[in-house]
């Protein structure tokens, strides 16, 4: 509208009225009348949001527009493509939704803006999992791999070096994270599973699967190798060449013996493999387990005694962003941490970065089921209202403290990444 008005050489009265009425309606709806509404701002508040489909919900962008007037334009790509895009086209996005392990590639490229922690309202309330590597109750958690606190801070505003001690320059504001483990079909396995070793147990020959994303797949493999007692890694997320050789040798033997039915790369593939019974034990993601279950098929996100492999994602801002757009980016991040989005994520089985604000937006029963490992009092519903669990159910793995406290390692990029990718190709060809 504004574009055509400009072309006409002036704003028509009618267009002006329509615009003003619309804007007033919007502002009144959001209950944010504070002095002059943003009808006076020169351009609409739009942020280009680059990320994977996992966190790009319409519900979140709608609610954000309602609350802040910021319009989110999603740019969807796979994890690998997001990274490629940040490095090759930093001008093509404003806000970036990515994982901590990618930072080792992204930050040296100089395309990531160092956020000012003082402008993040809830920064001090972000769970100490990210800032100190410990649970709110003080228990230390696993630090192998690219753990968030290793790459959270920069030495200066334009630095490309990660700071070991907290500074005010933050790379990535965490929003969502989880602890991953193996998914199993309890109805087909018919006995308790308690260790990562079961993935290579010949009992499940031709019925196992792992993730075919080399950097993550090899960590699941390392969990298995360590569980079998064949090797103890100094850091599963940063192996030496000899350790990579050893891990891939054990996996290659299993592959040749026909242990794996298939490897998967895509969310839907993992759901299909499990739901069709092609596999009975495999690396999996929490929402995929939920999806299999919502089809009426028994599937457990099995806690294992060696612990979980964890991941965490959040927001970066492109170095190309400046001026009012930068303020909107801060506003958006602040909104995201203010509770509604956190509660939304918690209800999907993820965890939110600021626990206090999310708790305020959930019912006591929801909080008890998702976060405290308590039996659900009423039916547990997904954000869209479908019933996920009946009353009385308990979450796999229990409470937040039990699950996050059991984290053994974090998704990572290794120093020997190049060598590892070559070995992975060799493994696939074997």
């Amino acid at each position: 509208m504004s574009k055509s008005s400009k072309l006409n050489g002036g704003v028509s009265r009618r267009a002006m009225l329509k615009g003003a009425a619309g804007a007033v309606g919007l502002v009144a709806g959001s209950g944010a009348i504070t002095g002059f509404p943003y009808v006076h701002s020169a351009e609409p508040k739009v942020l280009r949001y680059l990320g994977t489909a996992v966190n790009e919900g319409d519900d979140i962008s709608k609610k954000c527009l309602e609350d802040t007037g910021i319009k989110i334009e999603y740019i969807t790509a796979t994890t690998d493509d997001v990274t490629k895009r940040v490095i090759t086209q930093p001008n093509s996005f404003d806000v970036l939704d990515t994982e901590y392990f990618s930072l080792k590639k992204l930050v040296p490229s100089g395309n990531i803006f160092a956020l000012d922690s003082k402008k993040i309202k809830e920064f001090d309330n972000i769970t100490p999992v990210f800032t100190k590597g410990q649970l709110p109750n003080g228990k230390k958690i696993g630090n192998q791999g690219t753990a968030p606190w290793k790459v959270l801070y920069l030495e200066g505003a334009n630095s490309k070096t990660f700071s070991k001690t907290p500074t005010e320059f933050v790379t990535l504001i965490p929003t969502v994270y989880n602890a991953d483990t193996l998914g199993i079909r309890p109805d087909l396995i018919k006995r308790p599973i308690s260790s990562w070793t079961e993935l290579l147990n010949p009992e499940f020959k031709g019925k196992a699967s792992i993730l075919n994303i080399p950097s993550i797949g090899i960590m699941d493999a390392a969990m298995v190798v360590e569980a079998t007692g064949q090797h103890t890694y100094a850091d599963k997320g940063n192996m030496t060449k000899a350790e990579i050789d050893l891990t891939m040798k054990i996996m290659t033997e299993a592959k040749k013996a026909g242990q794996f039915r298939a490897f998967w790369k895509d969310f839907n593939e993992s759901v299909n493999l499990m739901a069709s019974g092609e596999t009975v034990i495999q690396s999996m993601w929490s929402p995929a387990v939920t999806k299999v279950r919502s089809m009426g098929i028994a599937c457990t996100f099995q806690p294992l005694k060696e612990g979980y492999r964890s991941w965490a994602s959040g927001f970066c801002v492109s170095k190309a962003v400046s001026g009012p757009k930068l303020d909107w980016a801060y506003e958006f991040v602040n909104w995201y941490l203010s509770g509604w989005a956190g509660a939304y994520l918690n209800r999907q089985g993820y965890y939110s970065a600021v626990l206090s604000t999310a708790k305020a937006n959930m019912t006591a029963d929801e909080w008890g089921y998702w976060m405290e490992g308590k039996a659900a009092v009423a039916d547990i519903k997904a954000p869209d209202g479908t019933i996920l669990e009946k009353a009385g159910a308990k979450r796999d793995g229990g409470s937040y403290d039990d699950r996050m406290g059991g984290v053994a390692c974090w998704n990572a990029v290794m120093d020997e990444n190049d060598y590892m990718v070559r070995k992975w190709n060799e493994f696939i060809a074997a």
Partner: protein, 277 residues
């Protein structure tokens, strides 16, 4: 025409070749001459003898799949084209039946491949049917996520690329030649071998080029149908790209291109397409 060709084909190709001889680190390409992309690719090819190195194993596997797919699509495609050209008399029916061959392309690649699971899977239709008929007692595991399923999916997809050019060649054969052949006392088989196949050769070669180039570079179908457990030349490039190792990916692409060009030029040695068209 030449400009479009130069801009969108030659230029990118030159870039890929240049980049393949660059160095790289975790997050960027370094424009310095390095043959690391190539030397890494052939790592262990001499040291591991008599065992095959990764790249040789991968190419042997890719060539094997390519050969199987090519011979099956040729056989089926030729038969279908023969039927369409010589047994279907009306033009309308020829068009309708040719269009029917495009049905596999109506759904997306991924959906189509996921749809094989309920058919060929452990609890799929085929296994349940065979078990119900008492022919087998254990489900056949090799039906899915095996070379069998890869070739099946590739043939299902690409037979069409054989049918069209062969049909196109056959329809141009002067029907009087065939009549003359029969009049001279040739059997059906002799007519096929001495008249139809030689005259359909350009179609066969064009179809073969389509199928071979597509299968050599394929990584999606081989990946999904092979359960990601079967290596292919395309898969190696994809893994390298995803790890941001662009020069290594480019080096592999150049190698793949070289091998494909070799195969195609061998084919065109057999038939001079320019002359035949």
């Amino acid at each position: 025409m030449m400009l479009v060709f130069a801009l969108f084909f030659l230029l990118p190709l030159i870039f890929v070749t240049i980049v393949s001889a660059w160095d790289y680190n975790e997050y960027e390409m370094i424009p310095a001459f390095s043959l690391r992309g190539y030397s890494d690719t052939f790592e262990g090819c001499i040291a591991d003898l008599p065992n095959l190195c990764t790249i040789l194993k991968t190419y042997l596997k890719t060539l094997k799949l390519c050969l199987l797919t090519w011979s099956l699509t040729l056989l089926i495609g030729f038969t279908v084209a023969y039927f369409l050209a010589f047994h279907v008399r009306s033009k309308t029916w020829q068009i309708v039946l040719t269009l029917l061959c495009t049905i596999p392309f109506w759904t997306s690649n991924v959906i189509r491949m996921i749809a094989w699971i309920p058919l060929l899977g452990r609890n799929g239709l085929v296994n349940k049917g065979l078990q119900g008929a008492g022919l087998i007692h254990q489900p056949l595991e090799w039906l899915l996520f095996s070379e069998f399923s890869v070739v099946l999916a590739l043939v299902h997809l690409f037979t069409f690329f054989m049918v069209v050019p062969i049909f196109n060649s056959m329809i141009r054969i002067d029907k009087r030649l065939i009549e003359a052949s029969y009049d001279a006392g040739a059997t059906g088989w002799q007519t096929l071998v001495n008249i139809i196949i030689p005259l359909a050769k350009p179609g066969i070669v064009i179809g073969s080029i389509f199928v071979i180039t597509i299968v050599m570079g394929d990584f999606v179908t081989i990946g999904v149908m092979g359960g990601q457990q079967i290596a292919s030349a395309g898969k190696i490039i994809e893994a390298r790209l995803n790890a941001l190792q662009f020069p290594a990916a480019a080096a592999n692409a150049v190698i793949l291109l070289g091998i494909t060009i070799l195969i195609i030029s061998a084919l065109t040695k057999v038939v001079d397409i320019r002359k035949e068209l």
